[in-house]
Symmetry: C2
Subunit: 110 residues, 2 copies
DNA sequence: TCTATATTTCCAAGATTATAGAAATATGAA
DNA sequence: TTCATATTTCTATAATCTTGGAAATATAGA
């Protein structure tokens, strides 16, 4: 993970429709959903949906699987983990920081 | 946390300069850094830096603290936690999912 | 008060992104 | 092969975002 990749990942999620798609797929689990099903649930036009799925796929946040005429998309949980690792890298100068030590650093990075 | 807020948060981080600022502040810890110090380290023009600090502050990702003539910014770890909670809400339909069960869901959401 | 330093606001130009209609492509079934 | 369904690509328009120079504002010290 590097800055460029992280920005692509974050930008992929920083959009109403794409965030909704991602969250829907996270909730759906490994099986995922076909494009048509996603479109129905979120009420998004074909072209728009396809555009956003491409963005998420390109970022590696979702996986694509073909099954007959249907294409299933599912969340890629690993990629999110990579991102989180990058964001909290070397937190607090690598010092051990206890929740009790300071309010602003309560057990999220440490 | 709701979709609108989450998008604002993600958009705040989905930009080279802002991600660099945020990561720098995460690494720096609760003390944070003054605007001038951030500008020096990242080599960003005053106006640009101020613009991005405002965005991050507005998103609640960083905290602002005045100390004499200096204004210190520091990472708000709690807000990042809120975001993560929202992203992984109801993962895998709420079912227990073991890493061993399926590759795509390896211990990140469960 | 006056001066120097720190930070923000204003502004305009350039770059990027989102949207959906229409056409193109891909797959399976008859 | 022919047809129906599923999904993607093409395209143009509209909207939003990023940048940094210059001016404005805020604070501390002399």
């Amino acid at each position: 993970m590097n800055t460029k990749t992280a920005v692509i990942l974050l930008a992929a999620l920083a959009q109403d429709t794409r965030l909704a798609i991602y969250r829907l797929l996270v909730q759906e689990g490994p099986e995922g959903l076909a494009v048509g099903q996603i479109g129905e649930r979120l009420e998004v036009a074909n072209a728009t949906l396809s555009f956003h799925l491409k963005e998420l796929t390109h970022a590696g946040l979702i996986n694509r699987r073909q099954d007959g005429r249907f294409i299933y998309y599912s969340a890629n949980y690993e990629q999110m983990n990579n991102l989180l690792g990058f964001m909290t890298e070397n937190c607090c100068q690598g010092q051990a920081c206890e929740p009790s030590d300071h309010k602003s650093c309560d057990n999220s990075c440490c």
